[in-house]
Symmetry: C2
Subunit: 277 residues, 2 copies
């Protein structure tokens, strides 16, 4: 069945990194000004005031917080560094609780030169160590598969299939997957993997943006929805067919859009969301 347009912004969330030039206060005010009442918060934006104060600001503004971004980065060549990563992830979980986030997104990490298979083992070992802490804090952990072009140093989990493998190895209601279309749109198994995740209670997050056919930079040239070639509405259909009822989180890293007046940019985001998600 064809998926219809979203009539409003009630299920829209925006990642603070989408508006990188802005402070947390500016993001909150900006998103509210266009009728968006949900925000996913990157850790560095609450560094100036701390997670507790950030939580107060977010609650006072009536903002829902699907995700804290981001924990993860578990693999490392020595044991001490892997333990440090686990400790940092516990801090992330505490911060997520303090800002009222439903989940912490995990960008799992990778070490250039280490076999990706070994990295994935270390990821599973790291996540196993923090699941109890996540449970106690009532914060979900969402593994985000990252595009294979980030396999060298950012993520040894590059498809839904590898995220599923970790979920199967560590069956726990607090562990699931965040689907970011930028990373997985090309995967021939995407529809089947989304269906699996939905059926098994693992579909925690859904991030939207677009893939520009003439991508100019590996990190900071994402497109706004409609700028690129991703059939976003079909994928949203798969996600909804799988039972997902959460936010459509707008996560765009773009030097081009960061250079704009951010209030004008918000109008583009609003229009792109209503037109293309």
């Amino acid at each position: 069945m064809p998926v219809s347009k979203l009539g409003d912004l009630s299920r829209c969330a925006v990642h603070t990194q989408t508006n990188k030039p802005w402070t947390l206060a500016e993001c909150i005010a900006g998103y509210k000004s266009i009728g968006v009442n949900a925000i996913s918060v990157w850790r560095h934006v609450f560094e100036p005031m701390g997670a507790q104060e950030a939580g107060r600001m977010l609650r006072d503004a009536g903002m829902n917080v699907p995700a804290l971004v981001r924990g993860g980065f578990f693999p490392a060549k020595d044991k001490l560094a892997r333990q440090a990563a686990i400790d940092i992830n516990r801090v992330c979980i505490d911060e997520a609780r303090e800002i009222g986030a439903e989940m912490a997104v995990l960008v799992v990490g990778a070490v250039a030169g280490q076999a990706l298979e070994d990295g994935r083992k270390q990821v599973a070992e790291g996540i196993a160590e923090i699941l109890d802490h996540a449970q106690a804090a009532n914060v979900k952990l969402a593994i985000e598969p990252l595009h294979p072009m980030y396999a060298a140093d950012k993520s040894c989990i590059n498809r839904m299939a590898e995220a599923r493998a970790v979920c199967e190895l560590l069956p726990h209601p607090m562990l699931g997957i965040a689907v970011d279309i930028y990373h997985v749109w090309w995967d021939p198994d995407l529809q089947a993997e989304i269906a699996w995740a939905g059926k098994n209670g693992k579909l925690f997050g859904f991030h939207v943006c677009d893939w520009r056919a003439d991508t100019r930079h590996l990190l900071t040239d994402r497109g706004l929805m409609g700028d690129g070639c991703i059939d976003l509405r079909t994928i949203r259909g798969w996600v909804e067919d799988a039972g997902f009822k959460g936010y459509n989180e707008v996560e765009v890293f773009s030097e081009q859009y960061w250079a704009m007046d951010q209030r004008e940019y918000l109008q583009l985001i609003r229009r792109a969301y209503l037109e293309h998600v």
Copy 2:
């Protein structure tokens, strides 16, 4: 069993595009000067003299030619354009025969905005139309899976699995796969897929370079072997275990190396090949 270093350059081939600033004559002379007797030829380098004359130059110099690069680009939105692509691929096959190439590499193509699945159907339809021509010319056709970061407009076949699917759909001794590590090194199924290809007579080509962890450009920042994070020797072991006896083809696109004196660069290639392949 650990794979040992290659003792010499007898199985080394170099792609002309690796030394983009050079003409075909300069490539031939350069490669011979370091003891490389095999060359994969990009079409544009023989445009000035034509394929027949290029074939004469290559034979006179005693060069082996694993591959002509490249045919493919089958998908298109209208039927006329798809027919034109088929016609061009027949020309590629004729040229491959004229330059004495064992195979034509197929970069299969993609249309931004078209479903990748539809693209793959058009690829299979296109290849089906040229198999007889390839057979008559005694030129193999090697599907090269391209990295998912090229899925928007260069290739709707992004893993070995999708190349295998086409080989299974069109069982023909002249159709197989070229494994370029730059594109597939991250794939958890790589070893199994290489084994399948070897067992089924589909392992036609093996291209080497490296993936720089801090890749600066999507197209023209490949690393020379040893510059990056790919465990090249392990992958060569998989390829050889699968029965591959062809050339290790050095294919590096790099603004950095193209800016060098190309004779000095050849010394780097020689050293990188002996040290890291």
